[in-house]
Symmetry: D2
Subunit: 417 residues, 4 copies
């Protein structure tokens, strides 16, 4: 814990001295690159992060990272949420952070050397290909990409989209979810594979924008008979959902804590703007409605932080599966809270709020998207309700109408960045 306090102080200095001063340059470069490459300022930030020992803080392994638990890393993740380039500057941006964690937990030594090493060194980037355009991605069992076993390895055929970062020229590989065992029960049909971005048959069909923004580098990908060697399999065949489950806790806690940092930043921007503008003879910050928004935002952010910390502690203590309700709660409530706080900040900024003169519009787009990515809010609320109805010890019919509990929806990652 003393170590965490030290890291927090160091990270705050890094933010103040390196990230925030580079923010403007990052934003302008990024706007030009449209997600197709990484701004050059990033290499400088990353070099400085390494020098300061602020590298891979998100990794739970103390050889590869700092061995922090989710609850220990969470406040650091919040700090990185305050500025767009920060998480990547310490090599902890999604989906790389969660891809690294996945490789750490289920990767073979050879896989770690081949895929985790360069990622952990910041030499390359990666993506995660799960969501598909043709099916309702809210139900992970709909995933239809085929992964067929051959003599030498696997052949992947299918269509993915919302694969964040896939158009970035530094993206070296994708982790792909597909069906390997079509005859198995729903929860044991899928597997995860590592596929290099330059594999023949893997094609970027097009880039996707989010409310007009292209910086996320989201892509639609076609896998047209892509062949990979047998050792590309992550974990066991048919256990793709189990691997996905492992990702869940870290992925959502990191997203949610970054959103809390983002909401804090938005509230600061709101307060700053309100203090410096005058309308109808009084400072905007003195208007009752604006003060009401500030108070509501403070309450909402603090509540959200407490809930995420509670979830992080539960994941650390009991594992992602046991903490699935808490993870669902933060998945639903935190992005919604962030959207509301950011939207109030936009309103106080007037035209500047929706333009590129502030980061608020892009923050909103990012937070709003997280109500869809990883499964829409509605799916997670259905899960919570079933759990609540079940907790009280009585048989409950499932959503789909059968008395047997439906398989839990696996996470749909991909849009998030």
């Amino acid at each position: 814990m003393a170590e965490v306090d030290t890291l927090r102080t160091a990270l705050e200095s890094f933010m103040a001295e390196v990230v925030v001063p580079g923010e403007e340059r990052y934003r302008h470069e990024a706007a030009e690159l449209h997600g197709r490459s990484t701004p050059t300022v990033m290499a400088e930030m990353q070099g400085e992060a390494k020098r300061r020992g602020l590298w891979n803080l998100c990794l739970s392994d103390d050889e590869w990272g700092r061995g922090l638990t989710n609850a220990e890393y969470a406040p650091l993740a919040e700090i990185t949420g305050r500025s767009t380039p920060a998480a990547e500057a310490i090599n902890c941006a999604g989906p790389d952070s969660v891809n690294m964690e996945t490789l750490l937990r289920v990767g073979t030594p050879a896989q770690k050397e081949q895929w985790l090493r360069p990622l952990a060194d910041g030499e390359c980037k990666s993506c995660f290909a799960m969501t598909e355009p043709a099916v309702a991605s809210s139900d992970a069992r709909n995933i239809a990409t085929r992964i067929e076993r051959t003599a030498d390895g696997y052949v992947v055929t299918g269509r993915k989209w919302w694969t964040s970062g896939a158009v970035n020229d530094r993206c070296r590989f994708a982790i792909v979810m597909g069906v390997t065992n079509p005859a198995a029960p729903a929860a044991h049909r899928h597997s995860m594979l590592v596929v290099p971005m330059d594999a023949p048959g893997l094609r970027v069909v097009r880039q996707l924008s989010v409310y007009g923004y292209r910086t996320g580098g989201h892509a639609e990908l076609a896998f047209e008979g892509v062949e990979v060697p047998a050792d590309s399999l992550l974990g066991e065949e048919g256990e793709g959902f189990a691997v996905a489950q492992l990702r869940l806790g870290p992925a959502r806690i990191q997203h949610c804590m970054r959103l809390i940092g983002m909401a804090e930043r938005a509230l600061e921007l709101l307060c700053d703007r309100a203090r410096t503008r005058t309308a109808f003879g009084s400072v905007v910050a003195d208007q009752g409605v604006i003060r009401d928004w500030i108070a509501e935002s403070r309450i909402a952010i603090t509540q959200a932080r407490m809930l995420v910390m509670h979830a992080a502690e539960k994941v650390d203590r009991d594992g992602s599966r046991a903490a699935r309700d808490e993870i669902a709660m933060i998945k639903v409530s935190v992005p919604r809270m962030a959207c509301e706080v950011i939207d109030r900040a936009i309103q106080v900024h007037g035209g500047a709020g929706v333009s590129d003169d502030t980061p608020l519009g892009a923050m909103y787009a990012s937070a709003r998207t997280l109500r869809i990515a990883d499964g829409p809010d509605e799916v997670h609320k259905m899960v919570l309700a079933r759990s609540e109805l079940g907790r009280q010890g009585r048989p409950v019919r499932t959503v789909a109408g059968s008395a047997e509990p439906a398989a839990r929806p696996a996470p749909i990652e991909g849009v998030a960045s």
Copy 2:
């Protein structure tokens, strides 16, 4: 902490074996008594609580109570919130619990013997007279009741209302707030006194109902030249707001945790009802909108609990004054949350929800009132906003338009029971 776990288990058994079985009888007796006396079943519950060592758990002193901190007592308070008679059954209902805590902290040994002793033994009840009908009670500085020094003591003249429990025939004394030092600065004008209910000149003008309920025993009181001896003063003259400040932490944390217990109970009732009713060919619990409400309620309750625990820990660590923002946050968010959860439960129950066939209507009235008592939400949000705007190190004009920070509104207690 081990002791707290033991107490929790013991309290849960007490709830299951004593309180819940007596609930129906309590409710019927209470409906007849209209707040004018205590149901006879209460004496039985209290006797059993004493025998089980579950008495005065709320008192922070380990001679008079169990010496629990706010954070330790909070989960126990939540448990008592699940059933109307529970808090009183362990002698921890408001305003007695907070009156006892006040006497513990600022009472002289003689005051403790005279007033705290019988209250702590459950021999009598008390009330708290703060709110006044003629002024906006949201601003405690408006309190106008005069307390004049005489040769032998004090004379109280004024009008109070929302004095909860004052019409109960077991109520022995009131703690009264009034102006002793009219020429002093606003924060040092008021004092608190103990006034026996049978003092000449103290008159119950009328009883007040909440929505249509009269069980709270709220009264309008006239103090018409009521004389009390000099040793009736609680703390120092002119320090009534400082004494009020001491009450704040415990009062609000207890209220809020009981509301969380109440919301949990409402959610259980909602789920139970939804499981046992059929409409349009399906069980109500299988309808998507109902499941959405269940999930939203689960998230809202859990968030609220985390926030109250956070506030309790801060009060324990740094004191009520330092934790005033956290206390304001729970004051605003928890009653509102409880109203929403209870209202959903009412809707699922249909006509039964608004009638006396369920405790839901009365729960709603009680939770709704707490958005007004102790100062309306809007006052606490203004305080939070000022604090937030001030936190960022720049001068901020106050609500009232002056550059000097307004005195913090003191708590307005009285409606709560």
Copy 3:
């Protein structure tokens, strides 16, 4: 239309000169009577209404009433919504107004003479027995009270509740819905009967309160083999739902317009209070948040009025069946709007808002109940959604999972007063 303007002016004078001055007396008498009888001041108001030609304005027949259409009567209904006794003062309170309209439309000449005549003359009152305690009243097809044909008439056996006004000693008869044709399709199983309140076997089991209020006179009724003559049938056997359909338009438009009047009154009370209270150095009416509530209330009330007028015009032009979507829209949105406006007024009034010092608490209870009565909001929203999905010309599965459209839920009246 000129006639309507004349009536409006006359009604406003009647309100100002007779109803509002009598309000206080009405409220006090009503609080004593607990719904078991009518305050004596009502006879005086009614006498004056008759003298002024403001009697039975709600009846669409110009012999029995003034022959106003729904759209013509709606603004007059709004005026009566501003004060609790007003609708009854002009003999247009529910359920009498709708019972009269039902008798007008489907009653035989003999039925009109026997039942409509005394009601239209204000000699007695009536009630409507539809909702049942044992089944989800949201689905009218659940209604289980049996009405069996005998040689001489019918025998009614069942249990009803939320029969508003049934405990009033002036209530002479009930209109009762029950199953006459159990083997028929769902929409043709039920019939409506007139049953005198003094019929042997008809018993008031108990009175029901609404948030502690007993003024509505709601009852649970037992029909234990109640015999009535054959000419008690209203309309055709098996056509109870069709008769219910006729009631729908007038019933809901009247309820909704009265709620709009009630909301206007609440907003006036809010403004009056805000203008006369000072807190933290400024008049409450000058605080931004209060002004925000005032503006939101003005918008919400005006929108609601426009929607109800639109529905009324459609009912007049095309009939209740064709206007069912519009009727569902007002049923959902108007009581909710009224609850919100009234709740804001309560908050501005502080403790006075929840007590009997203002009519606000009772207004809230009444508006809140209308989100349950006549079928909960959720049922009407499901109907609207089905209609919307169907409008676009594609087959849609019904809520219950069958491809055949479910019978429309019939209205559940009874709680409303």
Copy 4:
């Protein structure tokens, strides 16, 4: 009215046969042009609109347009709101439509010939320069651009932004608001001028995006000593706010009705998507929460339409000034409603909703911006509250703390397109 029905039918055919088929092409061209020019398909649409007699329907003059009242044009405006290119296809897109109306009402014959003629013929486009970057645009009295009288005309010096359409190469002139009479009372300080886009000293500083979209062609403009002849003045000197007042009714009614059309389109897209996707074993359109959204959307849209029609009728009957409360109501409630409906449609579409695969993201950006343009919601609500408090015949302090009523905020147009 018969004419309006004929126009409605003709416009619906035009939408189905010309606009909707060209939508995809329009969207692709527009995405390439980034607001800097008009897609070529527009000329084709406009030619067809002229041939069908569907040109300038928005103009209230029957020589230049069709002489429709606001209430008559409103339903046609709604139809054009359903598809992005539609309003421009009939030459009724903002700000051209309102600029034309302004020239019609206050322009001299020469001004009409010079500026209105080419605009009305579709030969060019125009913009409206009001909002300024350096001041809170919520208070129009803050506008600081100087317009100085010289021997020959006027010199304009200042900075404007959110001048929609200014970067379009077809934009020929701007209508500019600035201070001509700095010593006059606040409401008589400003004037409006026509300034050609190619006037020396007028410079497009940069283009502004809305969220990530650049299609609106919004610009920041610098007026650096721009000289225009004396006959560039619109109306009287010092009467800029009076001219702005004239614009108000038509501008807001047209915006709001287009938003209602947009919301209807979003609801259709929502329903279409929900019907064609399956998740967890059932069609999305069968899920209760989705049906709830559909019903809420239907209610909200219908209410909004009724309110706008009510405002339009009042503007036609009593003028924009008399209808200012109604105009404020629609300004606040309609864009918010549209945002909510569109946001639900986005959620149902998942990733497709935020991407350019649907028009929903751009619709959201557009509707959200209208909560800021023309003055933020909060300003209009303050106006409504003052009016409401004043209506009841008592003196009310104004927002700014003075007893004298503040000048009404003039409209801030500019962001809207």
